[in-house]
């Protein structure tokens, strides 16, 4: 196969690759090898992966090819398609770090339910993608193993925590990746890398084997370059799992059908709500103008646009930064050097190592990064006797109020929309020393997380002011994924019809940063 043929393979969608593998036009091994080659080429600049399982991936691809040669039906409609797994989802025998020094060298002895489902579907796992430590961050700069670079501009962040999964898509290192979203970790990286990422309804995808950050918020979801690919992956990983008590005992929604309907019928007859509180102050001008164009596009595609009020959203960030640290302080207590992971020999640094407490304390001091420690301390404080009601208790009340805001909004609209991120990709290092500025990146995504509703980001175009991708967030009522995907697919189709190509197809070659000129070109074209 020629190099340009291999390049062609990495630029195809997952749906196309699966069809080509099923028809025998290309083998799963060829597809996997093309992506491994692309990873080898791009990684020195992007650093989207923490671990590449080349040999294992080739073996998994061979299985798919052997099954096909034996005349078996494909294991799924994505059989043979390669994927990057966020390094917070465990895969048996493959190192898992959660982006932390604390777990360096730990090899999980078991598979997450999501991993089992991917493998059962014949999906080839290329490796583990980079993330902020324990999924805490909006830039991957909190990864203990160095940041990931945004393929649109290598000096910029790819979002976080799932920056590795998003960048791998934008750099054509994988057509599919898995993300996790606690307050926006799928949607915000998708927005700033011009890719698609969906956070399902809380409980829609099993969390078993997904290293916990905040249990009541964490949700696994699909990431891809097209809405259809995301929907296909969503159907593979979703559905009830008895090993996760919070998993919804219902079959996964028919999101692939919903995508086809959106592509065919658009959004005719749908009411789409614009959330007044999720635009304006704190949102970059280029983001807002892209969003307004997206609203116009949806209206042109047949939607009735309504404006909705969600007055309690302004308390969302504050409530989130009490609930998340509280749960996280408890979830991360298990990293104590007793059973796995890092153990610091304090005698080597001249300190006593006589008690278990000394070992635990020294290990946690050395193994956790600054942001992780900050949140553990915040949460420990918020849960303390005498403070619980004022902090954790109040935050739970806000959560209820935000749910009610959504309930009322969904009476007026089938889905709600907003920008997915208030800003386009900012420069590496720009906000690294300012936690509050970093937290504000999740302003638009946090309300949906607190309410447990499904929400996704699809590229709405490039910002006029920076030339970088902007994400359109689409939120639906709990279990309303079909509406969400229908709107996303309709928008994506309308965008391609208008601009001739999808946003991910416009990623410049690595190392040639996009600028306002490209967006200006686009502006003129539209």
């Amino acid at each position: 196969m020629t190099s340009s043929a291999a390049t062609d393979l990495t630029r195809r969608t997952a749906a196309e690759l699966a069809a080509d593998i099923a028809s025998g036009e290309v083998s799963a091994v060829e597809v996997t090898q093309a992506h491994l080659d692309r990873i080898a080429e791009a990684e020195p600049q992007v650093h989207a992966f923490l671990h590449v399982s080349g040999e294992l991936a080739r073996q998994q691809a061979e299985q798919v090819d052997r099954a096909r040669a034996a005349g078996e039906q494909p294991a799924s409609s994505l059989a043979g398609v390669p994927l990057g797994l966020k390094d917070i989802v465990v895969q048996q025998g493959v190192p898992a770090t959660a982006g932390s020094k604390m777990l360096e060298g730990w090899i999980p002895p078991y598979n997450a339910t999501v991993t089992d489902r991917l493998r059962a579907a014949g999906i080839v796992i290329l490796g583990k993608t980079n993330l902020d430590e324990f999924a805490m961050g909006s830039s991957t700069e909190n990864s203990a193993y160095g940041p990931t670079h945004n393929p649109w501009d290598l000096d910029r962040i790819p979002g976080g925590s799932g920056g590795g999964s998003a960048a791998a898509l934008a750099a054509f290192e994988a057509p599919l990746t898995i993300g996790t979203d606690t307050g926006g970790s799928i949607r915000q990286p998708a927005a700033v890398t011009g890719t698609v990422g969906a956070k399902p309804t809380y409980g829609g995808v099993s969390r078993y084997g997904v290293i916990s950050l905040a249990s009541s918020l964490d949700q696994v979801g699909p990431c891809a370059r097209t809405v259809l690919d995301a929907a296909m992956l969503h159907e593979v990983i979703g559905g009830h799992d008895p090993r996760d008590s919070t998993s919804i005992p219902q079959p996964v929604p028919s999101v692939v059908d919903a995508v086809r309907r959106g592509q065919r019928d658009g959004v005719a007859g749908m009411r789409i709500g614009v959330v007044r509180q999720l635009s304006g102050d704190g949102y970059q001008a280029g983001v807002l103008s892209s969003f307004r164009r997206a609203v116009d596009t949806l209206a042109a595609a047949g939607a009735e646009i309504v404006e909705v009020d969600c007055p309690h959203f302004e308390y969302g960030l504050a409530a989130y930064y009490l609930i998340l640290p509280s749960e996280c302080s408890s979830n991360l207590a298990r990293y104590d050097a007793m059973r796995y992971g890092l153990r610091v020999d304090t005698s080597a640094i001249g300190e006593p190592m006589e008690t278990a407490e000394q070992v635990m304390s020294a290990t946690r001091g050395a193994g956790f990064g600054a942001e992780t420690k900050r949140r553990i301390m915040l949460g420990t404080y918020a849960l303390s006797a005498g403070y619980y009601d004022a902090y954790y208790g109040s935050a739970l009340k806000v959560r209820t109020l935000i749910r009610r805001d959504f309930d009322a909004a969904f009476d007026a609209a089938d889905v709600l929309i907003s920008p997915a991120s208030p800003v386009t990709a900012f420069a590496l290092g720009e906000k690294a020393d300012d936690p509050m500025a970093m937290y504000l990146n999740d302003l638009a995504t946090i309300p949906g997380s607190l309410a447990g509703i499904p929400a996704m980001s699809v590229p709405s175009g490039l910002a006029q002011d920076t030339g970088l991708p902007v994400g359109l967030q689409i939120m639906a009522p709990a279990l309303g994924e079909e509406k969400m995907y229908r709107v996303a697919a309709a928008f994506e189709s309308a965008y391609i019809a208008e601009h001739g190509s999808s946003v991910p197809q416009q990623v410049p070659p690595l190392g040639t940063p996009a600028g306002p000129e490209s967006a200006a070109t686009q502006e003129r074209a539209s």
Binding site: I88, V89, V90, A96, A98, L103, W106, P108, P109, Y110, A112, R207, Y208, G209, V210, I211, S212, A214, S215, S216, P242, R243, D244, S245, T246, S326, E327, S329, S330, A333, R334, D336, M338, R339, Y340, A356, E357, M360, T380, L383, S384, A385, Y388, Y392
Partner: protein
């Protein structure tokens, strides 16, 4: 222990004179489910260390708990049997603290929303019924086990290193907490023991646990405080752990009462602390001080949805409750016609089921009670075992009893048969046959012995002929001696009187 001579202890009667004891008992029971509270690992006791573990109970990154439905069922049955209300919705919470034998560094336990609450258990203390009120019964998980190597105390402080075994981590527990038990006065230690005994019997009858205090499947923490006779507020309590037998419950409470009494009387204060009971000395020793009480930062467990048992299911479980031990005892007592004292002795000796089985095998209730209550009770004492551990079955006892009532054995011979059974010599009938222990009931064989006895003691014979029938005992004794005890004494008496031509009736 000579309480009167130890300056740190107050004479028990003096304690009662000056103070009212208040108790609070927390009993942890390990449920007898096949698998752990939140994973499918086996709960079996005694396996090689760290062989009954999995990602969930080792708290590997990413692992999540799932509630064992059988454990919930057992907890509900316990709650129902303790006359508790069953919460239509209860929750697990996280109790956060760092300890190496707790893999998650939090214990998943019910906190302010327990599955069962507001019940009671009536216990019998010296013939009086004392109602112990139950605050709550809640579900939680056990921790692993630390073994501290080196050092003098076997505790973590001073140990050179510690070994961790997580087999027990995640084993389901139900903790049953009483409300403060007041007004028991000098019976407080007995009430504590009677409560734990009754609870143990109850749990056993429910089939939810093997309730082995020696293996830790039933553990009791005894909270004890004293209040002065004129006081209106509760005194400071201590919590004594490591109380591993029923007898220790009573001893630990008594010891704490005398220790706290002396302390208070000398003008001191009781420190709120955890103490450990020492079986060997019968004393309690200070452990972790609660002055630096940990803040457990409880919050609702976000990895588990609330436990919401279906009301119909709870009613099914209520209907299926086995006959409770004290109800059964009352029924049996009335069926058997035993006095309260007789029944209490039998209960105290753990003989109720044995008597029930012996009666079921054909013995008269009074006979069965007599065997188990006295002769076999002595045999058990002599061997240092419980009645149930004696190598004799209720069926064998029933057979011996039947042989006696049929007249084939007398009491003395019956005891010889029982001794032989206990010695492992076989079944009663076979022993009777092999040893030739049957009563001589052949009149012609007896008549010769009767004639000999009359001939040997003519003066006695004359007295009897003269009307002093009660003198017949001497002649009966002679016949029994001649027949080596194998005659039926009543028949011998009849034969002697008939031979002498006297009407004995």
């Amino acid at each position: 222990m000579s309480t009167a001579l130890d300056p740190e202890l107050m004479d028990y009667d003096e304690v009662i004179e000056k103070f009212d004891p208040v108790l609070g008992l927390e009993v942890h029971v390990e449920l007898g489910t096949e698998t752990k509270m939140f994973c499918a690992c086996p709960t079996a006791f005694g396996a090689a260390p760290n062989t009954h573990v999995c990602p969930v109970c080792l708290a590997l990154p990413g692992a999540l708990p799932a509630v064992n439905e059988r454990a919930v069922e057992y907890a509900i049955r316990i709650g129902l049997a303790l006359n508790c209300s069953i919460a239509p919705l209860s929750r697990f919470a996280r109790k956060n603290y760092f300890y190496p034998d707790m893999p998650k560094n939090f214990q998943t336990s019910q906190y302010d929303e327990p599955i069962a609450f507001d019940g009671y258990l009536d216990v019998d203390v010296d013939g009086e019924t004392v109602r112990v009120e139950i605050e709550r019964a809640h579900m939680e998980e056990d921790t692993g086990k630390s073994t501290h190597i080196g050092g003098s105390t076997g505790r973590i402080h001073g140990a050179e290193y510690s070994l961790l075994d997580y087999n027990r981590a995640g084993v389901p527990l139900v903790e049953i907490v009483t409300k403060p038990i007041t007004g028991t006065g000098k019976s407080a230690p007995e009430v504590a023991r009677a409560y734990v005994t009754a609870l143990r019997d109850l749990l056993l009858s429910l089939g939810v646990s093997d309730v082995r205090m020696d293996q830790g499947s039933l553990r009791c923490d005894a909270n004890v405080s004293l209040m002065r006779k004129d006081a209106t507020e509760l005194g400071t309590r201590t919590e004594t752990k490591n109380v591993n037998s029923l007898r220790s419950v009573e001893r630990a409470v008594r010891y704490e009462m005398t220790r706290q009494g002396a302390l208070l009387e000398a003008g001191g204060t009781v420190t709120q602390e955890t103490r450990h009971f020492d079986e060997a000395t019968g004393t309690t020793n200070a452990g972790r001080s609660k002055e630096t009480a940990e803040d457990y930062r409880y919050f609702p467990e976000p990895d588990l949805v609330p436990v919401a048992p279906d009301a119909g299911w709870v009613e099914e479980l209520r209907a299926e409750l086995p006959e409770l031990p004290w109800v059964r005892r009352g029924r049996l007592q009335s069926e058997w016609g035993f006095t309260d004292l007789e029944m209490r002795d039998l209960v105290a000796a753990d003989g109720v089921s044995l008597v029930e089985q012996t009666v079921a095998a054909g013995a008269k209730p009074a006979e069965a009670r007599s065997w188990w209550g006295s002769y076999l009770g002595q045999a058990a004492n002599a061997r240092g075992v419980s009645l149930a551990e004696l190598p004799i079955t209720p069926e064998q006892v029933a057979r011996v009893s039947t042989l006696v009532s049929e007249g084939s054995l007398n009491t003395k011979l019956a005891r010889q048969v029982v001794d032989a059974v206990l010695a492992g010599e076989g079944e009663p009938d076979a022993i009777v046959e092999v040893k030739g222990l049957a009563v001589v009931s052949d009149d012609s064989a007896l008549q010769a012995a009767v004639d000999e006895a009359i001939a040997a003691q003519p003066a006695v014979a004359d007295k009897i002929r003269g009307g002093k029938v009660q003198a017949v005992g001497a002649l009966v004794g002679g016949v029994m001696k001649a027949t080596k005890g194998q005659a039926d004494a009543a028949r011998v008496r009849e034969l002697i009187l008939a031979t002498l031509g006297v009407d004995g009736s």
